[in-house]
């Protein structure tokens, strides 16, 4: 057997250690998800007797409690409405804009793109007070519609940016041929470019859906009555009630209700989303 040079030996050892660390990191994520799901099915007595123990009887009651008394049922419907409405709204609004900005030869195109890009850096905390005041004036505080409007607005910069990237990859020749054949610009966009840009549209929808499903600060600021709470805000309210209910297993059932749909969506969309991050556009 060939003797290893000391530097190479160190290299091999450090490689094994690095691998062990990375595998440990990934395993801790799987373990955390498993532990949360398992705990959601236990009773409180089981949880505090042994945090690692498997559930005896599956306590479906936890989910029932979280869904009804815990407010996660209405939170779920509200989140579907605001995250779904926000994601569809912002993509519908941004796709035509991104198409023209990716193609147009008009003056001020660069400046417009920069103007949209600037919005990606605006922190939510800068906007919460002025936007709250504005929505208050038009009676849209504590309103799911108001929250959807905010979601659409704050996601325009990111969505326009991602979609410009996709439209820019589509060949110009197709449009030109269609125009020569007498199709209108709008028909070209709707019938030719939009179908071609479908992977980009789906990616933009997926990122917006997951981002808005996760969104917490705007919901916390704008929603006041429990019936309007999104899942994140409802989970936060349930968490605050722990100091007097101590129903931790119910809280973990609520956590499963909050993260479950996002993880299921991720299972279907992970390849596309990870590629988008690789693309540099996953934000």
């Amino acid at each position: 057997m060939a003797r290893l040079h000391p530097a190479r030996l160190l290299d091999v050892v450090s490689r094994e250690v690095s691998l062990a660390l990375l595998v440990g990191f990934a395993s801790s994520i799987v373990l955390a998800l498993f532990w949360i799901s398992m705990t959601a099915f236990k009773s409180n007595a089981e949880l505090f007797a042994n945090v690692w123990g498997l559930p005896g009887l599956l306590q479906l009651r936890n989910f029932d409690h979280a869904w009804t008394i815990g407010g996660m049922g209405s939170g779920f419907l509200n989140s579907v409405f605001v995250a779904g409405g926000g994601a569809i709204g912002v993509v519908a609004l941004s796709a035509p804009a991104a198409y023209v900005l990716s193609r147009g030869e008009f003056r001020g195109r660069e400046a417009l793109i920069n103007l949209f890009a600037a919005g990606m850096g605006a922190p939510a905390v800068l906007l919460i007070i002025p936007v709250f005041l504005m929505l208050n004036q038009v009676g849209l505080v504590d309103s799911p519609i108001g929250l959807v409007a905010v979601y659409v607005g704050i996601q325009v910069p990111f969505t326009v940016f991602v979609l410009i990237g996709f439209f820019a990859t589509l060949p110009v020749e197709l449009e030109e041929a269609a125009i020569v054949d007498g199709a209108s610009e709008i028909a070209v966009f709707a019938r030719i470019m939009l179908p071609l840009a479908r992977p980009g549209i789906v990616t933009a929808l997926a990122f917006n859906l997951i981002y808005l499903w996760k969104e917490f600060l705007w919901g916390l600021v704008l929603l006041r009555s429990q019936g309007h709470f999104t899942l994140g805000v409802a989970l936060n309210a349930l968490r605050e009630s722990m100091s007097f209910t101590a129903d931790w297993v119910g809280l973990f059932a609520a956590v499963v209700i909050v993260m479950g749909p996002a993880i299921v969506a991720y299972l279907f969309l992970s390849r596309r989303m990870l590629d988008a991050v690789a693309f540099g556009s996953g934000r």
Binding site: R15, S18, L21, L22, I29, V30, A32, I36, F48, V51, L93, P96, V100, R103, G104, E105, F106, L112, G119, G121, A122, P123, A124, V125, L126, L127, I129, P130, V131, L133, A149, V152, V156, I179, E185, W213, K214, F216, V221, L231, G232, L235, N236, E240, S243, W248, V255, V258, M259, A262, I263, A265, Y266, M273, L274, V277, A278, G280, G282, R283
Partner: protein, 301 residues
């Protein structure tokens, strides 16, 4: 201008204007409005406000809570950033030997990115609990009895605990970002380097890192934004009340508490907005300085 150019210009009104208007109403106008509000003393929604010029900004340097919050943001940025990028660099360095399991690793470490942070803060509150928390259970199991009774959410360790949890939460994004960049580097470059007798560290340092440098800088800019805007996790972790723990406040939490806080409403809208303006300035300066400091000639391959 060509005929096509003119046609596209006609499309401007129906295609671009709606997005522009919504963006202007929800983001641009309120952003400018914020700078205006920061010049007023204003004690609540519905109250009248008084113009005070830059006095809100003048009050900031002597505000102890501001200092705590900004320090926590910077600790998260520097200490957390070191750990996040150490993990990402480690993944990039051992990447070529991970084979097909690479895809699985990438998919798994990204999962925390899709889970709402408020849900993760519930998990970590339980992990750090001193009586029945997971961390102390693990420490007991492996025989580190001395540390096993630690109240991790106590005042001395809570900031470190929060930073560690956020590193765990965010590292996956940066792993995916940097691994993707490194996988665009041709494999034969690694192989040639290793064949020439370079160690893995040397290969990483002299081959991979220069070739992915641009993406590293993009990653650092994103980390500035993540670390300085941190709100959700810190808002909920380690407390079962409506009031986040003051030892771990970040500037976004401080702004929220000044303007909307539930337990101790202060309703200092002008001051809160002034703090938000300073946050924007700090983030912008950090990004500009970082990009300047890390500028390198692009390596072609």
């Amino acid at each position: 201008m060509t005929r096509r150019g003119r046609a596209k210009r006609r499309l401007f009104i129906p295609f671009v204007l709606p997005a522009l208007v919504v963006y202007a109403v929800i983001v641009l106008y309120p952003a400018f409005q914020a700078f205006n509000i920061s010049l007023f003393e204003w004690s609540g929604f519905g109250q009248t406000s008084t113009y005070v010029g830059l006095r809100n900004f003048a009050d900031i340097p002597t505000d102890p809570l501001y200092r705590i919050a900004l320090t926590n943001n910077l600790v998260l940025f520097f200490v957390g950033g070191l750990a996040v990028f150490a993990i990402a660099f480690l993944a990039v360095a051992v990447l070529p030997t991970l084979g097909r399991r690479r895809a699985l690793f990438r998919a798994v470490v990204f999962v925390p990115q899709v889970v709402p942070l408020i849900a993760l803060s519930v998990l970590w509150t339980f992990v750090y609990n001193n009586d029945f928390g997971l961390l102390n259970a693990i420490l007991t199991a492996v025989g580190i009895k001395d540390a096993a009774g630690t109240a991790w959410m106590g005042p001395d360790t809570i900031e470190a605990a929060v930073v560690a949890a956020l590193v765990w939460t965010y590292a996956g994004f940066y792993v995916v970002l940097l691994m993707a960049a490194a996988s665009r580097v041709p494999l034969d470059l690694y192989e040639a380097s290793l064949l020439d007798g370079a160690t893995r560290w040397q290969t990483f340092r002299f081959i991979t890192l220069p070739l992915i440098w641009n993406v590293v800088v993009i990653g650092l800019v994103l980390w500035i934004i993540d670390a300085m805007n941190q709100f959700d996790f810190v808002f909920a972790v380690g407390s079962t009340t409506g009031q986040p723990r003051q030892e771990i406040w970040t500037l976004p939490i401080y702004i929220f508490e000044q303007a909307f806080g539930e337990r101790i409403p202060v309703f200092r809208l002008g001051y809160a907005t002034a703090v938000a303006v300073t946050l924007v300035v700090i983030i912008t300066v950090m990004i500009v300085v970082l990009r300047r400091a890390l500028r390198r000639p692009v390596v072609e391959y």
